[in-house]
């Protein structure tokens, strides 16, 4: 019940606006912080976890930047609701398991979200549509400053912000960009691109982060190193690499259009036709076809739908979203039918 208002609104990151939004779905900056002199969440006793939760919920509640936010305790919502927040990229997979004393403070436009008692006491994220890392960083840093006025973070001059896992120590910063790269996949250049990215100290993952497939030709690219460079330099580095990847994808799209126009149009239009006529469709098939439709919209092959509508479909058709829309638990087979219905309706503009 508590999270139902979210169902009625579009997450900011799906709006399909902002720089390079034909290729960049969203940009995200997350900062990891911990309370001083308190054991990290995983090592804390239940009582300590509860105290950290109360301190942080209270501190966040008084921040101007969190005005109008929704604070959700993970233990007070059910599995479907938690999965729903995960599908919207508001919480992590780790935040879903053992939900006691964990909560999420979600900003009114879902741009800001703060997870409390995840791997670190505080994981604050800023998530925006399009290629917008600088803006994300500025906002995250402002939020960080205002929270710091209320509480003391675990920090050392030599090691920076101290985190539970040494892979986040220092800046505690993870900047990531969600890219839609269908042309690089179709021209079989994607592995080369991903390998190069990894060599430069960046990581590439699927739509739902660690350990997920690149379904729908979505790739999340993020910095790996958090210690030894300033935040601005980490972001600048990532931006330069992303700009290169965007350039490669643009070239691949042009080449496809030039050399294989008929084949490409056939793929896009068949995907569009299937989605507008299917009565049963599973997530995997949908992700592949919707990716082609998104490409069709971006390249002007499909003109009767806009990017935002397609972006929304990627999320609305995920299992927990379908169940929230229907207001009841659905089996996998029932979901496949509801999913196909929803897609048909939306693509016809209904």
């Amino acid at each position: 019940m508590k999270i139902d208002p979210l169902l009625k609104q579009t997450c900011e990151w799906l709006r399909g606006t902002g720089p390079n939004s034909d290729i960049v779905m969203s940009s995200r900056v997350r900062l990891a912080r911990n309370l001083e002199k308190r054991p990290f969440s995983h090592w804390a006793t239940k009582k300590q976890e509860k105290e950290s939760l109360e301190i942080l919920e209270g501190a966040l509640h008084h921040l101007e930047m969190m005005k109008g936010s929704l604070t959700v305790r993970m233990s007070e919502i059910d599995d479907v609701d938690r999965q729903f927040l995960l599908e919207r990229h508001l919480i992590s997979r780790e935040h879903m398991v053992s939900p006691d004393y964990k909560s999420a403070a979600i900003g009114d436009k879902e741009i800001i979200c703060v997870m409390i008692n995840e791997e670190d006491h505080i994981r604050m994220q800023v998530l925006q549509s399009g290629f917008n890392l600088q803006e994300c960083w500025r906002m995250a840093s402002r939020l960080d400053d205002s929270l710091h006025k209320k509480i003391q973070f675990a920090f050392s001059l030599e090691r920076g912000y101290l985190t539970a896992c040494p892979t986040n120590t220092g800046t505690g910063l993870r900047a990531s960009v969600m890219l839609h790269l269908p042309a690089l996949v179709m021209t079989k250049q994607i592995n080369r691109v991903l390998q190069a990215i990894t060599k430069l100290g960046m990581t590439a993952r699927g739509l739902y982060g660690e350990g997920t497939d690149a379904e729908g030709n979505f790739f999340q690219i993020s910095n790996q190193v958090t210690l030894g460079s300033a935040e601005e330099d980490i972001i600048d580095n990532l931006e330069r690499i992303i700009r290169q990847v965007i350039g490669h994808e643009e070239n691949a799209r042009k080449t496809l259009m030039k050399q294989n126009r008929e084949v490409l149009q056939d793929k896009i239009c068949r995907a569009n036709g299937t989605l507008r006529n299917a009565h049963i469709i599973n997530t995997k098939e949908m992700m592949g076809l919707l990716s082609m439709v998104r490409l069709g919209v971006d390249m002007g092959v499909i003109t009767d739908i806009d990017r935002r509508a397609v972006n929304e479909l990627f999320i609305l058709t995920q299992p927990a979203h379908l169940q929230k829309i229907e207001g009841r638990i659905l089996s996998s087979a029932q979901r496949d039918v509801k999913r196909a219905n929803l897609i048909r309706r939306r693509l016809e503009g209904r």
Binding site: P39, H62, E158, T169, G228
Partner: protein, 175 residues
């Protein structure tokens, strides 16, 4: 993907076996994988990687680092615990296990010296005021609950006024 064995949980262990050119794929959840036998039980996570990285530091000739034997005074974690779970217990662990952590951080990040943002020292004074107001407010709220429960209504009324006052103060201090 659901577990092939129980069909209830999400499959997180994926096995591909090739025997006599026959390919068998098995998708299991963690608990079914455990039941299936120890050979499929090994779940390779960040702890394994970190422990591999810290071990290198102890075996490279000329760079032997004795593992810290002490437990962290802040949280009671031993370095062995960290190697097992891949996460530290509290911020003080960074000082307790400094000797082992410095080379590990260097291996992960290529550096062990922070170059980024620091909490603004100018904020500390303001923060102290805010923090005090905030903790006072939290304890007043707890006291109020107790007072109501014990039907000490005079006390409760006084606490209610105190809470109002503190909330107003905190609002003025708002950022």
């Amino acid at each position: 993907m659901m577990c092939d064995e129980c069909g209830k949980n999400k499959a997180t262990v994926h096995l591909t076996e090739i025997i006599n050119e026959q390919i068998t794929k098995l998708n299991l959840c963690e608990s079914c994988a455990k039941e299936k036998g120890s050979d499929v039980e090994q779940h390779f996570g960040i702890a394994d990687l970190l422990s591999a990285l810290s071990d290198v530091g102890q075996t490279t000739p000329g760079e032997t680092i004795p593992p810290s034997k002490n437990k962290c005074p802040g949280c009671g974690m031993a370095y062995e615990d960290f190697k097992k779970i891949g996460r530290l217990g509290c911020s003080e662990c960074y000082t307790t296990f400094k000797q082992s952590l410095l080379p590990l951080l260097k291996r992960i990040h290529g550096s062990n010296q922070h170059m980024g943002k620091s909490p603004d020292p100018g904020m500390v004074k303001e923060q102290k005021v805010s923090t005090k107001l905030f903790t006072d407010l939290e304890s007043a709220k707890i006291d109020l609950q107790k007072a109501v429960k014990n039907e000490e209504f005079e006390e409760a009324a006084a606490l209610r006024d105190k809470i109002k006052f503190l909330e107003k103060k905190l609002k003025e201090n708002k950022v």
